[in-house]
């Protein structure tokens, strides 16, 4: 079975593992045990689903893109994770982890964030469950996602600016790990993607599995079959893992779209950082390189280990798109369907638009992982207000 549980060492094939300081090993083991136990506890799973329904707004809709489909000659279906509470798929994972943290007796959450979506989601979960919350965010990202910074503060979280290294997501992860090393006794590290040391990649994917499950069911009831292609953007790869997991054991083609400036899988060199062995952008000495893309949420030089595995066995493919293609896709979905997508999600659409000629007559399910409100400010700078778009 594809996308099964990792092995005892937390590996998907050769990828994954637990490369963290010795101090954190017991915390990872405790988390793994707690997660295994909770996920077999019906009461926990029910509470998780109940909150995602009553508070998160699930199930998210499946939207048929009539106009775009006609223009492209490709039937495009959107899984509307942008309609979830807090505006992205991230809420699934944070509700799961916050419930688990509470169950483990932890009173404080720390998180990293890039675009701010995971930070906002974590701050939301912390407010809901009355937990203390600190979010680490790169200085560069704080500048380009000001609105989300304020949003987190409104929700009661402390946002800490990270000025080391590239001052983006990768460095925010380092800083969150440093915090966790010092506070592990009362703190849970609420990691935002399918990355990090075991059990995170597996646990986070499991909390997002609901995206794929819902979409699978929705596709069956809409057209009595699965789509030809399932496509999602990939930074760390959590929304892609979520939707892929609903179709990994079907004939559907799985496509994870990376930004050209952060194509960890595309370059295909394994490395170890942030607790895992996976594909990693690095120089000839093994120093981790800085990713550069228009979307803060995908500015990550690595990728979740399960994606590295899916790529290595040929089950999923990971092409990349340029910032320019992304901006065009962002505008196009806004105009043709009345949906402003997150810049992250626009990567997946950019690939569909570029590949339309080879996808003629096919059904493509696209995970619209987030809404674009947070990106409007930045796009005003890129496109210019009042200009003819």
């Amino acid at each position: 079975m594809v996308m099964a549980d990792p092995n005892e060492e937390g590996r998907f094939g050769e990828f994954g593992g637990r490369f963290v300081p010795e101090t954190l090993i017991p915390a990872c083991e405790e988390l793994e045990a707690a997660f295994r136990e909770a996920w077999h506890d019906q009461a926990f799973v029910e509470e998780f689903h109940q909150i995602l329904t009553d508070f998160g707004g699930r199930p998210s809709a499946l939207t048929e893109c009539y106009r775009l489909s006609e223009q492209l000659g490709v039937r495009v279906l959107l899984k509307r994770e942008d309609l979830n509470h807090t505006g992205s798929h991230k809420i699934n994972n944070v509700i799961g982890q916050a419930l688990l943290a509470r169950r483990m007796g932890k009173t404080r959450l720390v998180a990293e964030t890039g675009a701010g979506q995971h930070g906002v989601a974590t701050a939301t979960a912390a407010a809901l469950l009355d937990m203390e919350c600190k979010v680490y965010m790169g200085e560069v990202d704080m500048a380009r996602q000001e609105l989300n910074v304020f949003r987190m503060q409104l929700l009661g979280a402390e946002v800490e600016s990270v000025s080391s290294g590239s001052k983006t997501l990768k460095d925010a992860v380092n800083e969150a790990l440093r915090d966790w090393v010092a506070t592990v006794e009362n703190t849970h590290y609420c990691l935002g993607s399918v990355m990090g040391p075991h059990p995170y990649p597996w646990m986070v994917r499991t909390f997002h599995h609901i995206i794929g499950d819902e979409a699978h069911e929705q596709c069956l009831s809409l057209m009595q079959r699965v789509p030809d292609v399932v496509v999602a953007c990939v930074g760390g790869g959590s929304n892609a893992a979520g939707i892929f997991s609903g179709f990994a054991n079907t004939d559907a083609r799985l496509v994870g779209v990376e930004p050209a400036g952060g194509a960890a899988v595309g370059r295909g060199v394994p490395g170890v950082v942030h607790g895992m062995i996976s594909y990693l952008m690095q120089d000839e000495d093994g120093q981790v390189q800085e990713a550069e893309s228009i979307s803060a949420g995908l500015d990550y030089p690595g990728v979740g280990p399960e994606h590295a595995y899916l790529a290595s066995i040929g089950r999923a493919e990971y092409p990349s798109v340029t910032d320019e293609e992304v901006v065009k896709a962002f505008q196009r979905l806004s105009r043709t369907e009345g949906i402003i997508p997150a810049l992250e999600s626009a990567h997946a659409l950019a690939w569909v638009i570029r590949e339309a000629a080879s996808l003629q007559g096919q059904v493509v399910l696209l995970n619209l992982s987030g809404r674009g409100d947070k990106d409007v400010d930045q796009m005003m700078d890129v496109l210019g207000p009042g200009k003819d778009q």
Partner: protein, 263 residues
Amino acid sequence: MSSSSKFGRMEGFLRDRRDSGSKLLVAYITGGYEGWEAAVEAAAAGGADAIEIGIPFSDPVMDGPVIQKASQAALDAGASPGSVLSAVPNLDTGVPHAVMTYYNLAHHAGHERFAATLANSAIDAAILPDLPLVESGPWREAAAVAGIETIMLAAPTTPEERLPELCEASKGFVYAVGLLGVTGERANLASTAIEIAGRCKQVTDKPVLTGVGIGSPEQAVEACSIADGVIIGSAVVRRLLEGGGAEGVGELVASYRNALDAG
């Protein structure tokens, strides 16, 4: 009698000094930072029993602000594993050398190649703080073949049942992490520093040195009430960052040496 035939060079050297009644002092210097070579020699002259040389890495998760800053400055100045290691054989220290860096540099080069490069660069031991015991087997094996001792870190959170295995796996010495947290000086010695050293000493006769959070000669003496020695890093590097140069490093190390010798 020398222990050096039975143990690696680092462990033999430190055992001999410990067994002769001395408390052990290891000083850390960030390789590639301006003036680091002179600082290494000054630290040895100031009384360090071994030197830890940092190879700067882009993502030093176990390091606090001081060492992060020095690492970044070194990287910005063009430091690389090659540039740091190639300078070590020319350093006049008379004591063993360990490198302290992060696992991806070894992983990327390949275990055998990285270990051989260390061995050919007058390095005796390696500390890789993001390579925990559970993931360390393949590297330790390759290192041992090349004659490199892998120093393992024992944390305050390390459970009782894992400690004997961890101390057994560790070569050179056992690095007792003094507190829950990253490298850096603290105002007071954490109670965990005494505890973890004591727990290690109960299960191993290897030298047990406490590092992370040692901020003054007094704290070093206090830590050595149980531990065989201490590792000082951020205190030394801060002296460099503040412009103290090799002379300042030599003086600082000597102040720790004197305090430890006076007991």
